[in-house]
Amino acid sequence: MSKKVPQEQYEKTFSYKFKQWLDGTKDPFLDTVEMKRQKPFCEEAGKAERRKQDRERIVRRVYDLEKNAELRIFQRIYRVLAVAFCVFLVVMLLLAVSWLPTFGEADKPVNNEVSARYIENGLQETGAVNIVTGMILDYRAFDTLGESHVLFIATCTVLILLRLDRKEDQETYGANDRLHEPKNDVILQTAAKILVPPIFIFGIYVILAGHLGPGGGFSGGAVIGAGLILYLNAFGFAKTERFFTARTYRRMSFCALACYSLAKSYSFYTGANHIESIIPLGTPGAILSSGLILILNICVGVVVAGTMYTFYVMFRKGGY
């Protein structure tokens, strides 16, 4: 037995609004969210014509195909040779792989004293429960030191290529970075509000637990970087620049890499000179354990998060 509700009162209820939305008679987001339909890509007639002319001019002037017989012949055989080369490479590699030791065989050369010691003594020697972390940050820390600098130098190269340093460029492109997407999207902002804090916490967890279980600086840093990018997309540069600018990134990555270099220099130096290291390994399984690995994981995480965020910002706006 249901009570009959007057029409006015019914129109205020959630179910009525939901029904309206379902029928398509009213869109609750219509005036609150900025909506812009993406324009279909169409090229102006003159522009297409000019592009065509440019291409013809390149062929005519730069390559000068009519007179340049060498290049003409080269262009003709180039495609055939490229395909032939790829086929050759693929076939050769497949054949060579078929001659390699069988996967999973017990007496494979890879199953030797190197991996045996990593597996058997990894826990005692590095203090890390996760032996992969123990390998990359303690046994073979020099490689990982190089690898984190690969990330750093990759960011620097992207900065060279994409950072807009001239004032007028910054004004033209910097202000227009939302030309093709809506501002203040409620759906995105709500989702970001809910998602970003757990993402950050999860990222920090993955970094801090790198020596205890699956995880580490590279993966945790990537998670935090993704969270930063989501936050930026939802709330725009005005909000992120309050706590994260290019200067923050530079100082952060410098501190992290310097810390990494110094910490590892200490352990390389003491190791090579047979001096006992004063860094305790701690109880395996505790959060403060496994010597330098925790600190190194944090350093790597900072560099990776900053690198991901900077890549995104550079491709989107060319500076921050």
Partner: protein, 501 residues
């Protein structure tokens, strides 16, 4: 353990640390840090070299508390220390010679990033020279590749962006092949440390098992590094990259980046596979053939060039051909000749780039031949330096190029079927070198005819750019030194190579 033995490790860490440091400094301070780092590392390497010569044997330095094969290690011998010292000297002079160009061609706010690239490039070269671990070598090859891309495109115009793209595509193909080769070797031997791989490869070769994948691994690594060091059919990236980048970048790329990869290849031949096994495989014949084709085709392309910097760049293709031909001979003498040529070519090529920029300074920045007429009278020091470099490239006695050609010829004599092709290729290549280098020298020493107007041609006194003049003088001295007292250097290379095995 002597304290000197820490120096290679300190040099690597110092240059690695100075990269991030430069990114937070201003361009001016980054430059000072960079100069200081290069000089300090030069002295450290010299001390290391002295130490290794006095003890007469190589030593390994464990990076961390775990001995090899569990941890990383670096290995220091005479050849490694000498190469590190030499790379520092060339890098210092190249940076010195290109100060003005860097200021003009790189945006003010990006100056410090240039030094980040140079610092990390130096670090990667040192690590490639010293490392005793194949995977460490690969990691630093990555740093080397990325920083070289940055060095090319930091002078931002369409040409350099295109050149950097080409360089990146070719170079990544090379890195990929190298990585595949390392994976194959790891699967066959279960080690990444060079000495252990060599031991295992020796056993595999003796029993004859896994012959095919072993040859494929060797081939992949050789081809990968050949692509990265611009051996003839893979040289398409080279002329633009050297021709349009800023002066210091061109000098560093031509004389250090490609040489670092060649040194790594020598290490792989001697310390990873074992030269006897390399000799038995057919890979060195391939390197020999492409080396010889490169010697001739590089020079032919250089003759056709109208732009002086691109001409010097194409000449690099020919010189890289010489080096691979030396490997292809498959004798210790051939490899010694190649290493000497690495040294001599590095010293000469950076000299030529700096001298050519001195000549174009006096000709309104135009690199065209027509505008260079009489340039040696307008900038006398650059003219002399360019002549010295050209004569060295052609192989005139008293200059370094002569010694390396002599060593190549001597190494080829007595080889039962490679002697004739080597000598003929050397002869043709010398004539071709003479054609384009002497053509240029004659052009710059021809007085400007009365009816010809050089746009913006002006006289450049040696004091106008003291840094560049100083670099040129040092380069000339270095070249004469290499040419006149080659015996100790050859002995050094020979003893270093013996320590390698």
């Amino acid at each position: 353990m002597d304290f000197v033995q820490n120096f290679p490790f300190i040099s690597i860490i110092l240059s690695l640390f100075s990269g991030p440091l430069s990114s937070v400094l201003s361009g001016k301070w980054a430059k000072r840090v960079n100069t200081a780092v290069i000089v300090v590392i030069g002295f450290l390497s010299a001390a290391t070299l002295g130490f290794v010569i006095s003890t007469g044997q190589a030593y390994v330095y464990t990076m961390g508390h775990f001995p090899a094969p569990w941890g990383n290690e670096i290995r220091v011998g005479v050849l490694e220390a000498a190469m590190a010292l030499f790379f520092c000297v060339i890098m210092f002079l190249s940076m010195l010679g290109g100060i003005r160009e860097r200021e003009e061609q790189i945006e003010e706010s990006k100056q410090n990033l240039y030094y980040v690239m140079v610092d990390l490039l130096l670090c990667s070269l040192l690590a490639l020279v010293y490392t005793n671990d194949l995977f460490t070598a690969y990691v630093f090859v990555e740093i080397n590749t990325i920083s070289a891309c940055g060095l090319i495109m930091i002078r931002q115009n369409g040409r350099t962006i295109e050149a950097a793209t080409r360089y990146m595509i070719m170079s990544l193909l090379g890195s990929g092949l190298l990585l595949l080769g390392i994976c194959f070797l790891y699967d066959l031997t279960g080690h990444l440390l060079m000495s252990n791989i060599k031991e295992q490869v020796g056993i595999l070769a003796a029993t004859g098992s896994y012959h095919i994948p072993l040859v494929v691994a060797l081939g992949l690594m050789s081809v990968g590094l050949a692509i990265k060091s611009a051996l003839y059919p893979f040289h398409a990236w080279l002329p633009d990259a050297y021709g349009y980048s800023t002066l210091s970048s061109a000098a560093i790329l031509s004389s250090l980046v490609s040489k670092g990869y060649i040194f790594l290849l020598i290490k792989i031949f001697y310390r990873v596979i074992g030269f006897e096994i390399v000799k038995e495989s057919k890979v060195i014949h391939v390197l020999f053939v492409f080396g010889i084709i490169g010697m001739i085709m590089g020079s032919v392309s250089a003759i056709k060039e109208d732009d002086i910097r691109r001409m010097i760049a194409f000449s690099s293709v020919a010189q890289i051909g010489y080096i691979y031909m030396g490997f292809g001979l498959g004798t210790a003498e051939g490899v010694i000749a190649s290493i000497y040529h690495v040294v001599s070519h590095s010293a000469t090529k950076s000299l030529l780039f700096v001298a050519a920029s001195g000549l174009t300074d006096a000709s309104g920045k135009s690199p065209r031949y027509r505008d260079l007429t009489g340039a040696a009278y307008r900038n006398r020091l650059a003219g002399v330096a360019f002549t010295v470099g050209s004569l060295s490239m052609v192989g005139m006695p008293i200059f370094s190029g002569f010694i390396s050609k002599l060593l190549f010829a001597r190494a080829a004599i007595g080889h039962h079927y490679k002697m004739l092709p080597t000598l003929i290729a050397l002869a043709i290549s010398v004539v071709l070198n003479a054609v384009y280098f002497m053509k240029t020298v004659i052009r710059i020493y021809t007085p400007v005819p009365a009816d010809m107007e050089i746009a913006a041609g002006r006289t450049v006194p040696a004091g106008e750019q003291p840094a560049k003049s100083a670099a040129l003088v040092c380069f000339i001295v270095l070249n004469l030194l290499l040419g006149l007292s080659s015996e100790p250097i050859i002995n050094l290379i020979r003893s270093g190579l013996e320590m390698f095995g």
